[in-house]
């Protein structure tokens, strides 16, 4: 009797385990709960105050960059746009938060023009130096400014990662430049379907 019960228990545990491992098959980096929940205080490109709570219920893709960025930022944003368009719900429940690490040059209107060009999923965020530092410190990313050239232009080195949070604000995935648009689409679909949670 006890043995039968034990067998049943083991079988159930095995099934549950199999279901778990089958469910989530991420193609980008799984950082489930590794980083703190989505929280910040900033201003969005429409001039409205924005916090982590503003985007509760949505899948959030957090990215740090600047509008004068020569290659990495536009490439990344274009790839995200492509990936979101290809998801099952065409990204209806997702937002990409583009946080500028160059608030000196990136005014709200400039930020607004920039993100709008990539699609309806994009929101530009700008903060005071303190707000920006609090957010970058929270996600352990940093940025630094290069020397200005004779026209006053300078490059900014910054994080290349896209941090993905689920609707509850929990950190879930990390997407890197090496990840393809298809991989991103696949993972966003899985996340929307509630995989791994």
């Amino acid at each position: 009797m006890t043995r039968k019960f034990l067998f049943a228990l083991l079988a159930a545990a095995g099934l549950a385990l199999a279901a778990c491992t089958q469910k989530a098959h991420w193609r980008t980096d799984d950082i489930d709960g590794l980083m703190p929940r989505l929280a910040f205080n900033m201003t969005d490109d429409a001039g409205q105050p924005a916090t982590g709570a503003t985007y509760l219920g949505k899948t959030v893709l957090l990215y740090f960059g600047y509008t004068s960025c020569p290659d990495v930022c536009p490439t990344t944003l274009a790839k995200l746009a492509q990936a979101l368009k290809d998801t099952k719900d065409h990204g209806a429940n997702a937002k990409v938060l583009f946080v500028t690490v160059d608030p000196k040059r990136d005014t709200l209107s400039r930020l607004h023009e920039y993100v709008r060009a990539f699609g309806p999923w994009f929101v530009g965020l700008r903060g005071t130096p303190e707000e920006l530092q609090a957010l970058t410190k929270r996600y352990r990313v940093t940025y630094s400014y290069g020397k200005p050239d004779k026209d006053g232009n300078y490059e900014v080195t910054h994080s290349t990662a896209v941090f993905v949070f689920d609707g509850s604000g929990r950190s879930r995935l990390l997407m890197l430049p090496r990840d393809s648009a298809e991989a991103i689409t696949s993972d966003l679909d899985q996340l929307a379907a509630g995989a791994g949670s």
Partner: protein, 286 residues
């Protein structure tokens, strides 16, 4: 004036962690109290006192100033941080042979009521003996370096604040244990867990995997630790340049600390009766 405020700002903690302050300040305060209670004739010399205080000051500096910020965003600075936590800091502290002074500095109530029962507890003795075993100690010492430098593990440790703390504290505590075992001022006969000869052998042997790992990282032609690119560097530097420098720091200064340890042990061995070759020579050639 601006430079001064910038320097002071640099000395403020990047992420304040009370335990680090309590440990470093507590260790210094205990030692000062112990010195005051030591008869002038028995007080350790200037060199030893300097070694003790600079060891803790260095440990505090790499953990609780903006050096910690730089360590999170530059691989080679992170390697210097670990060199201090795992090698240089504990080495200096232990080199000072601070135990008699610390024992005098400890308030009697804590010594009798807390420390003695804890130390006499069989479980404590067992764990201590296990960690300070001649095989376990060097394997743990080298193993921790390899563990935290495994690219996937390093990636997570640099992203997650709790894991980062575990990484740095494990390096510091293991460094203190290892160097306390290696630089024990006593000979085997006087109560050290391992004799001078085997300790020299362990120090030399344990430096070899670090030389290998440091060279492997320093000479690698592709990016092993991309977390610094992912999260952004503290100042513009190419990933491979940063990585090579970090590899060299893992390789050369670490190996030198082991050689320095060997020299210290040789000196002590020659001064102690255990290994002194003179008496045997004298009897052989009367």
């Amino acid at each position: 004036m601006h430079a001064l405020t910038a320097a002071l700002a640099f000395l403020l903690p990047w992420e304040f962690f009370p335990a680090a302050l309590v440990l470093c300040a507590g260790a210094a305060a205990l030692y000062v109290r112990g010195l005051r209670r030591t008869p002038p004739g028995e007080r350790p010399g200037f060199g030893r006192r300097l070694a003790y205080f600079s060891g803790w000051a260095l440990i505090y500096f790499v953990m609780q100033t903006h050096w910690d910020y730089l360590s999170q965003h530059m691989f080679f600075i992170h390697r210097i941080q670990h060199l201090v936590l795992h090698h240089l800091g504990p080495f200096l502290v232990v080199l000072a042979q601070p135990l008699p002074v610390l024992a005098r500095g400890l308030p009697a109530g804590i010594a009798e009521g807390v420390l003695r029962p804890f130390w006499r507890n069989p479980a404590t003795r067992f764990v201590y003996r296990l960690l300070q075993n001649w095989l376990v100690a060097p394997v743990l010492f080298v193993g921790l370096i390899f563990f935290w430098l495994t690219p996937a593990i390093h990636f997570d440790a640099m992203l997650s604040a709790p894991l980062y703390l575990v990484m740095n504290w494990s390096m510091l505590l293991d460094g203190l244990l290892f160097w306390a075992l290696m630089l024990d001022p006593r000979s085997r006969r006087e109560g050290a867990l391992i004799g001078y000869g085997p300790r020299i052998f362990i120090l030399l042997l344990a430096s070899l995997p670090q030389i290998y790992l440091g060279a492997d990282i320093g000479l690698a032609t592709h990016e092993l630790y991309d977390v610094y690119t992912v999260c952004g560097r503290a100042w513009p530097m190419s990933p491979l340049e940063d990585q090579s420098l970090g590899g060299l720091i893992t390789w050369i200064p670490a190996a030198m600390m082991h050689l320095l340890g060997v020299l210290v042990l040789l000196g002590r061995w020659m001064r102690s009766d255990q290994g002194s070759p003179q008496p045997t020579l004298a009897t052989r050639h009367p």
